[in-house]
Amino acid sequence: MSLTPSNGSARRAYDGVVMCAPVTIPYVRYSTDTAHWWIGRALHQLTGTAGIRPRDIDGLVLSSFTTGADSAVGMTQHLGLSPRWLDHVPMGGASGIIGLRRAARAVQNGDAQFVAVVAGDTNHVDSFRKTLSSFSRFAQDAVYPYGSGGANASFALITRNYMNMFGAKREDFGKLCVAQRDNALSIPFAMMKKKLTLEEYMKARPISDPLHLFDCVMPCAGAEAFLVCREDVAKSLGLPAVRVLSTIERHNSFPDDPIQYRGGWAMDVEEFWQMAGVKADDVDLLETYDDYPVIVTLQFEDLGFCKKGEGKDFIRQHTFTTDGTFPHNTSGGQLSTGQAGAAGGHLGITEAIRQLTGQPIGKPVQDAKIAVVSGFGMINYDRGLSSGAAVLARAS
Amino acid sequence: MVSNPASDLLGFARRVASGSIKVVDLTQTLTQEFPTIVLPPEFGQAAPFRLEEISRYDERGPAWYWNNFTVSEHAGTHFDAPIHWISGKDLPNNAVDTIDPRKFIAPANVVDCSAESAANADFELTVPFLEAWEKEHGRIGAGEWVLLRTDWSKKPYSEYAGMRDDGAHTPGPVPEAVKWLVEERDVHGFGTETIGTDHGQGHHFNPPFPAHFYMHGKGRFGLQCLTNLDQLPPKGAVIFSAPLKIKQGSGSPLRVLALVEAA
């Protein structure tokens, strides 16, 4: 099957490739363990779930901010793996989708049979501050010295601008946060365990205007992983699996926008749906990258669930709860479950695999067949640079 | 009774120890603040006294305290050797290291012009003044110091230096007086309380700086920045003034002591 995307070149479908064995190592606020430990736990559980031996893993995609001097290569020796195919995807919240893209092609082309896509980060008491100050050269030169508000300050500016441009209100963003909290209440390892009301959201402590406490994720330690392999292999292992209908990724999109009000998805949305062969209306659940609710709103718009600038109306039309209309971030998302570093971009993927294969941790989305997962990451200077998305479908 | 030179010397020592011979310290303490001679700024300048700690029971030297100091040969209470001045540059044994050490001990005549100096900072020591002094106190002997008491050492530094926009205003000898002391009285040297042996306006005399010119030209010595001259009798004090033995030194800060009979 071939497609002709907007740029005229053909996109090959991911025929015969599936994702399975979703793994989440329960998050903790602070960990005295290392990223190596978290990644090791995730791979251990992955092989257990898949019923394979560690040495069967012949492909690995690793994402982490906190492995220190160790790259993915170093990690193979640390963990005793001998993969014939290895990738390191340091793309923050876009790493999950982009790791999936890399892994799917490797499996499809026979370069590897079992590709483990894993992300894990620890969270030491002072590691968040250190990560912020040395996140990137632009962050070091041109962001961190300005109040050191971290991503909160950067996204506050994006949020402020979005509100100014399109008339979205704090209450709109609040509705998303409240819905996600509802979803998280059935997830045992979510950082946030108490119900959130809109009133509490509105009255929360200001962080960086207009962002308040519940607009911000809580950094934590944790790990996520899933396996990419051929559909027949998954079937022979008895693993429930999902197919990959379409993917996109984009970096440094719209560099001339003075301030970010759309993400890279908007550049590729047409091809995204064309390749998938389904429409936005067909989607049963959406797992967005929710570092801040404004970015969720951009994803609603840029992935075609509503028009640019109509995010607030879209929000007002739906409940976004797992059992309501337009189930969204059914794991609670990072806003309620926590942001386990680079694993934040994998959280939606493992959740979607579970929902599509009928093995959710929390509440199920009834009869979920099609899911869209999107990722977003790497605020380098004034905006997130990397975006990606995938349409996933229940196999068979 | 024949005197025994050895026991005379020991007797002297005993008298010093007992206080029947009094030791008067004629020396100013060497401090950073003490004025030094001021020349026009384009000339080389005499370095004032400066003290730099080497260590003081600290990481630079845990159990000891000591300093380095820098100072000109001509700062504080100091001695002028004949080589200091152009008129004495070719004399034999004219530097502090080659002067016969016997010359560091000599009697003193103390000429009191403190009242005149108090009345007039530009007081000039003249031959008639000296002759009048001799009439009262006796002739100035050959090989003896003449020390000029002005009580200048008691003044605050600004008055002590006496700097005005036309130079220093401090008492001192006129050329004829110095010439007279050297040629008619064959004195050992000339000492003052002021910054120099010369009058504050001495550069306008002919020759300029006569105390330097005539004294050093004839191999005589200078002492300046003396203090406590008011504790000396007009005659009878013996001065100990041994400069540091600096190779070809033109002078040196030194400790000047006067021995006087206790009253």
Binding site: D141, S148, I158, D209, P210 | Q45, R164
Partner: protein, 413 residues
């Protein structure tokens, strides 16, 4: 509108002095192009020599055409503040104790969008001027200022973190015997300093201007001789704990090259005043200043060295003097590194020949002591680090940047 700064109350002696902190000051090598511009008070951004694109943050290739010919050049500093935020929680200890802290994004007319600190008088949606400043850690930062000057704008607390305004501060001028020292005393008194201590060495030696100096408001004459360690230590013991700005005016200017010096007596004096003098001042006053870098409105803020521009390249006509100036400059650079942790700026002011007696035979253009003093006050008000005063100084700076070898040869005559 900025609330005018109030004269600080006397300090509560039972209160702990706030310890100095400073924002993260690590920068990439390329970003130090901003450090240079900020240090000298210019607004410069990288501008592509090939396609004229102006861009930011600093990069090593043009984001439009990938050219690597991307020098920092002066650019239009006007733009519009398109979004602002008030940071209320910060991970950095420096900002943490200064929140709320506003930052915002400005779209410059020249092209790039710049995240900057905000002056209190700028509002979202308004036209602004961006300025490059050095922050408390000596690192270059942008701040958006009102398009047109507003009343008391220098008193803005965020801006004042980036400047060394003498207003309400206590200043020590190390040598008041010279015309330059006296001009400084006048200028700092006029600039609103709380006390202007003026050091006088050898008080028994009268000097021109003495009476006028004593009449200047808020001038207090103190004993200080930079060539005397004891004198410097004693002065620091008396007043070091309340001196916020040191202006080292001690000078030793004599014509002549090093062969003409005929021995090292004068050269030693030059070094004693200019090199050891600085060292004595640094040792005596530096530690207390470094400890008081965050001590409220009148924190210790700057150590100013007045330097001949020939510290940067020897002028053989005043060759030995130039050498001593170079030694002083080098020591000042070291002092800058040492005081940086206290948020205390070392400002080097490079001047061309002065219109004073020691440059009597040098033809104009020359810098009058009053002009030099005015430049120093303004540079502190702007928070500069390297200041060039007068046409000769500017000329030397430009020639040094263009071709140091040519400058060396040409100064040799």
């Amino acid at each position: 509108m900025t609330e005018p700064l109030k004269r600080p109350k006397r300090k509560d002696p039972l209160k702990r002095t706030q310890q100095p902190l400073y924002p993260q000051s690590v920068r990439s090598r390329t970003a130090h192009g901003l450090t240079k511009a900020a240090a000298e008070g210019r607004f410069e951004l990288q501008t592509c020599d090939d396609c004229s694109t102006v861009f930011y943050p600093p990069r090593d290739a043009c984001p439009n055409c990938l050219s690597d010919r991307v020098p920092f050049r002066p650019v239009d500093d006007n733009g519009k503040l398109i979004a602002d935020t008030t940071i209320r929680t910060s991970t950095d200890p420096y900002f943490r104790e200064r929140t709320p802290w506003r930052v915002g994004l400005t779209k410059l007319d020249a092209g790039p969008v710049i995240l900057s600190h905000l002056h209190g008088d700028v509002l979202e949606g308004q036209r602004v001027r961006l300025a490059l400043k050095l922050d408390k850690g000596g690192a270059p930062v942008m701040i958006a200022l009102p398009e047109k000057d507003t009343p008391n704008m220098a008193d803005d607390p965020h801006l004042r973190e980036m400047t060394c305004d003498p207003k309400f501060r206590r200043v020590l001028i190390t040598d008041g015997r010279t015309p330059v020292g006296q001009a400084m005393a006048k200028a700092f008194s006029d600039a609103g300093a709380n006390i202007v201590f003026v050091g006088i060495a050898d008080p028994w030696k009268p000097f021109p201007g003495q009476d006028e100096l004593k009449k200047i408001e808020r001038v207090e004459i103190v004993a200080l001789d930079v060539t005397d360690s004891e004198s410097v230590t004693e002065q620091a013991e008396q007043n070091g704990g309340r001196i916020d700005i040191v202006i080292n005016t001690a000078e030793h200017i004599r014509a002549g090259g090093i062969m003409q010096r005929h021995g090292v007596t004068v050269a030693r004096e030059e070094m004693d005043v200019r090199y050891f003098g600085l060292m004595r001042l640094a040792q005596a006053f530096g530690p207390a200043m470094r400890g008081r870098g965050a001590d409220g409105v009148n924190s210790a803020t700057a150590f100013v060295n007045l330097l001949s521009v020939h510290a940067l390249m020897n002028w053989p006509q005043y060759g030995a003097y130039s050498a001593a100036e170079a030694a002083s400059l080098s020591a000042a650079q070291c002092l800058r590194a040492e005081l940086r942790s206290g948020g205390v700026r070392v400002m080097n002011v490079f001047f061309g020949p002065l219109d004073t007696e020691w440059f009597q035979t040098v033809p104009p253009p020359k810098v009058t002591p009053a002009a030099l003093a005015k430049a120093v006050v303004q540079a502190l008000q702007h928070g500069l680090e390297d200041v060039f005063v007068g046409d000769i100084a500017e000329d030397i700076r430009a020639r040094l940047a263009a071709n140091p070898k040519a400058l060396e040869r040409e100064l040799a005559g």
